[in-house]
């Protein structure tokens, strides 16, 4: 196996396809923290973007790429970092990779978090491994003079990611767990109103489960802040060609369309997302969406 990362295909201005050797892989609570050599991706990425990896190796029965938020990049070292939860067979395979094993990566993909011009305050909210992209974002924001507070939530202490890191990169950190095994017992949305009030944040950045993103959006709206949420929709390609990752989002013209989370997202303005369409693990097409099946029709 080659020790050096090398490009697989054409590397266009804003996206690359690289074979990325694993440089390190360490457990981090319930997750695995991987550092891989992917210089082209490292050079292009911005916080909020993601990478998509093939799984299972050359003889794999799993065709589709798995998406992961970029946790950190080091353009000088040419490395990219991701935090992976072993959910099912594909992610388990990734967490089992050893040093020098190679990941086939496409990235950076999707829209990054929008950055304010400077100053002010922002609150960053991460659920479980959803916190992965926030620390890098915090650093970028603070470089712009933004006061940054981080709220981390998870089901239990082992499913929190980056509590120590948060203390390094943010001005204040709040932690919640469903079972009270760390921080405040409860959800991030329980503490968020207070954090928003005390920080006077104008922007809230969030990444985590859909239900959390919806609650964060509501709390932000109530506090008069803008919510920038990074969603996690099931994706087959990650690059905008399959139309599997769509969700109803209100456009600039006020009309709802089924847009691709991989291309137009994963970061959306929270108040543009049609949260009413989500429920019970499904997302309906709202009746008023462009091209929706005619009501009463067939």
């Amino acid at each position: 196996m080659s020790g050096a990362a090398y490009p697989v295909g054409v590397s266009a201005r804003d996206v690359a396809h690289e074979r990325a050797p694993v440089r390190s892989s360490e457990p981090a609570g319930a997750y695995q923290h991987l550092v891989v050599a992917a210089p082209a991706i490292a050079a292009l990425a911005r916080p909020g973007q993601f990478v998509a990896a093939t799984v299972g190796g050359a003889t794999s029965g799993m065709l589709l790429r798995r998406s992961f938020s970029i946790h950190a990049v080091d353009p000088d070292a040419g490395t990219v970092e991701v935090v992976v939860a072993a959910h099912a067979a594909g992610t388990t395979w990734i967490t089992e990779r050893r040093i020098d094993d190679v990941l086939d990566l496409v990235g950076p993909l999707g829209q990054a978090f929008p950055l304010p011009d400077g100053g002010g305050a922002a609150v960053l909210v991460g659920g479980g491994y959803g916190s992965a992209p926030l620390f890098w974002l915090a650093q970028v924001l603070r470089q712009r003079g933004v006061h940054v507070e981080i709220v981390l939530g998870a089901a239990s202490a082992d499913r929190l990611f980056g509590v120590a890191l948060a203390a390094e990169v943010a001005d204040a950190v709040d932690v919640t767990t469903d079972d009270g095994s760390a921080g405040t017992r409860g959800w991030v949305s329980d503490v968020l109103p207070e954090v928003l009030a005390r920080s006077g944040a104008t922007d809230v950045y969030a990444c985590g489960p859909m239900a959390m993103l919806r609650a964060v959006t509501e709390a932000a709206s109530a506090a008069g802040a803008a919510a920038h949420v990074a969603v996690e929709e099931a994706m087959a390609c990650g690059v905008g060609v399959c139309m599997t990752c769509v969700m109803p989002v209100i456009g600039a013209d006020g009309r709802t369309r089924m847009v691709r989370a991989c291309l137009d997202g994963p970061v959306f303005d929270g108040d543009r997302v049609r949260w009413d369409a989500f429920g019970d693990g499904l997302c309906r097409v709202p009746d008023d969406a462009v091209g929706a099946p005619q009501a009463g029709g067939h």
Binding site: V8, G9, V10, A12, R13, D14, V15, H17, T54, G61, M62, L63, L64, R65, D104, V106, E233, A234, A236, C237, V239, G240, V241, C242, M243, T244, C245, V246, M247, R257, M258, L263, A277, D280, G281, L282, C283, R284, V285, A289, V290, G291, A292, P293, H298
Partner: protein, 319 residues
């Protein structure tokens, strides 16, 4: 150098590799990864008369060496396609095989007519008539399960399209007798056939104990179905050799992920090869497959791609 060119009912393409409809959007996304004008043709996402939202989600489930989708023909509608997408494709020099659909034979014809009124109509190398999408609310709308319905659609499109532009009927493998459907399409004026669309499948969400897909059933694609595609191409090509149906070019599609796979479909009888689901695994798959195919032909001493088309048929070897 192997001559990779292929001729499809009068349209000569520099090479036989194509995207598959619905697996490459309308070009811009893949053009970030490779120059789409390198392809023999770019096959567009099936376009319908009006904008369509498609189905709710989940729209996909991964399956062993395959996937299910229930996109439901999401698209911008033919006006936006003809005014925006097609001109962009023309601007980068792509040859376009335009995939169209409608709810009735008339709608198909309207879409074709409107398509050809585009300022970029000259970039259209052919029309692929999708009569076989399983992701429609009623299986009754899958024209390709019935010879008469198939023929009605093809005849309407053929009448709306100038003679020099080839019309391909895209068929479903989910029928008792594929040759009869192929025969009906060719009889109604199709210049060629695209084989195969996805085969109908389903997955269950075991946590919620309900169908996994928003659309309940979905189309199965990927390497898992390649043996079905090879069989379908073989059966129809064999019927042509046996003179049970007129000889016409076949565009092969289904599970192609490598140059070997492309060669397999060609040897079964395909004059051009589309790469669909494999693109989700590797965004450069269509051109990678092209390069691998060229390498294989070269290694094996073939002078031209045309020499391997249907080469596994005994009738061809006897020629």
């Amino acid at each position: 150098m192997v001559d990779l060119s292929t001729t499809l009912a009068g349209a000569t393409l520099p090479n036989p590799l194509m995207t598959a409809s619905g697996c490459a959007a309308n070009g811009k996304e893949l053009h970030r990864f490779f120059d789409i004008s390198r392809l023999g043709a770019f096959v567009t996402k099936t376009v319908m008369p009006a904008p369509r939202s498609g189905r709710g989600t989940p729209r996909m489930a991964e399956t062993p060496s395959g996937m299910l989708n229930s996109i439901g023909l999401q698209g911008p509608g033919i006006d936006a396609f003809a005014d925006e997408d097609l001109p962009w494709l023309a601007s980068v020099g792509a040859r376009v095989l335009a995939s169209i659909a409608g709810g009735t034979p008339d709608e198909f014809a309207q879409v074709a007519t409107r398509l050809l009124s585009s300022p970029a109509a000259a970039s259209v190398s052919g029309i692929e008539v999708n009569i076989s999408c399983p992701n429609v609310a009623s299986r009754g709308l899958v024209f390709a399960i019935d010879p008469l319905a198939s023929a009605a659609v093809i005849a309407a499109v053929r009448a709306a399209v100038p003679a020099h532009l080839p019309v391909f009927a895209k068929l479903s493998p989910d029928v008792t007798d594929l040759v009869t459907i192929a025969s009906a399409c060719l009889g109604a004026g199709a210049d060629g056939l695209t084989l195969i669309n996805t085969t109908l499948g389903m997955a269950i969400d075991l946590d919620r104990m309900r169908p996994h897909l928003g659309g309940i059933t979905g189309g199965l694609s990927g390497p898992a179905i390649r043996p079905i595609a090879v069989r379908a191409i073989w059966q129809v090509r064999a019927a042509m050799f046996a003179e049970r149906i007129p000889t016409a070019p076949i565009i092969g599609v289904g599970g192609v992920a490598s140059g070997r796979d492309a060669l397999e479909l060609a040897a079964a009888g395909a004059s051009a090869i589309q790469v669909g689901t494999a693109t989700f695994n590797d965004p450069e798959a269509p051109v990678r497959v092209l390069d691998e195919l060229a390498g294989l032909l070269d290694e094996r001493g073939y002078a031209a791609f045309a020499d391997v088309v249907a080469a596994a048929h005994p009738e061809r070897r006897r020629q």
